[in-house]
């Protein structure tokens, strides 16, 4: 089932069997895309949206010198350019970071869903609002946190999102990103990321080797990154994250 992880464990937005069947029936194509492949460019008209089944994808903007800022990453279960349905063009590029399997759904099919199924439409809207909530957290991360805090916050977010998708046990998960990717997510140079990762490892907060992230004490890492999972609207916030609150002055 291609939609197994879509809105999994999301508060008040889990799909019913009928809703899931409707989305499954709307899928036009399932394909696997090579790593580092652009699937949508800013300004190009789009007639379909993409559900990520396996792999990691990104949305990004390049500056005038070609230096890149990743403005979002997408994990399995994310409907990554659902907002292209009403917008029709994107203001950023979308690319795979790893090998990725995606399902595409024509905008005409989404249009039919919005006409027939208001409750499912609300859940699709929820998915785009969740993206917006994650963007707000990314703004906070870049605006307020130091280098170690940024990396800690991002890894906590990845852990929580993958836990929701059933791909993390809360302390250990696969994440096939490079240190350059982490740098482009957190606004740091690769050498700075390398230094921070070593620091986190030496402090016993996190290790990241061979695409495997291990977080022995998720609450301690969350405290270091001021990570509060509320913005992920999880149905059940697991114990390993439940005490993580952003310090208030």
């Amino acid at each position: 089932m291609f939609t197994e992880r879509f809105l999994r464990d999301k508060r008040g937005a889990s799909l019913t069997a009928d809703e899931r069947a409707r989305i499954e029936g709307a899928i036009g194509e399932v394909k696997t895309i090579a790593p580092r492949t652009i699937i949508a460019r800013a300004g190009e008209p789009l007639h379909q949206s993409t559900l990520l089944i396996e792999g990691v994808m990104s949305r990004y903007l390049d500056d005038r010198q070609g230096l890149r800022q990743l403005v979002a990453i997408h994990l399995p279960g994310d409907f990554l350019d659902l907002h292209a349905f009403p917008l029709k063009v994107l203001d950023h590029d979308v690319a795979t970071l790893t090998s990725a399997t995606v399902a595409t759904i024509a905008h005409a099919e989404l249009e039919a869903i919005t006409q027939d199924l208001p409750e499912l439409t609300r859940k699709l809207w929820f998915a785009t609002l969740l993206d917006a909530a994650i963007h707000r957290a990314w703004l906070f991360r870049l605006g307020r946190l130091d280098a170690t805090g940024r990396i800690a916050h991002f890894l906590c977010e990845a852990n929580a999102r993958l836990f929701s998708a059933g791909l993390s046990d809360g302390r250990r998960f696969a994440l096939a990103l490079t240190q350059a990717d982490l740098g482009e997510i957190c606004g740091l140079t690769t050498v700075h990321v390398n230094r921070v990762m070593r620091q986190l490892r030496e402090e016993g907060l996190c290790s990241f080797r061979a695409s495997l992230v291990e977080i022995p004490d998720p609450l301690a890492l969350a405290a270091r990154g001021q990570f509060d999972p509320a913005y992920l609207y999880m149905e059940t916030v697991p114990d390993f994250l439940s005490n993580a609150k952003r310090p208030r002055s």
Binding site: D146, A147, H192
Partner: protein, 64 residues
């Protein structure tokens, strides 16, 4: 009603610069996180010292 905050304030604590692997890492103040070559770091440092001296003279002038 959204509680008022003072908004971003001038930093009173310095950033900390360290060297490693032939590069300079500047951490803080606040959310600053930069990696610089030795030359860029030295010129940044010089620029900061000159600006700090000027700002101190401006404060002294404003206070007189």
């Amino acid at each position: 009603m959204m509680p008022d905050t003072a908004g971003p304030q001038p930093e009173t604590e310095p950033g900390i610069a360290t060297a490693e692997g032939g590069l300079v890492f500047l951490e803080g103040p606040d959310g600053v996180a930069a990696t610089m070559t030795p030359d860029a770091a030295a010129r940044t440092g010089q620029s900061l010292i000159e600006a700090a001296a000027l700002a101190a003279r401006q404060q002294a002038s404003d206070g007189s």
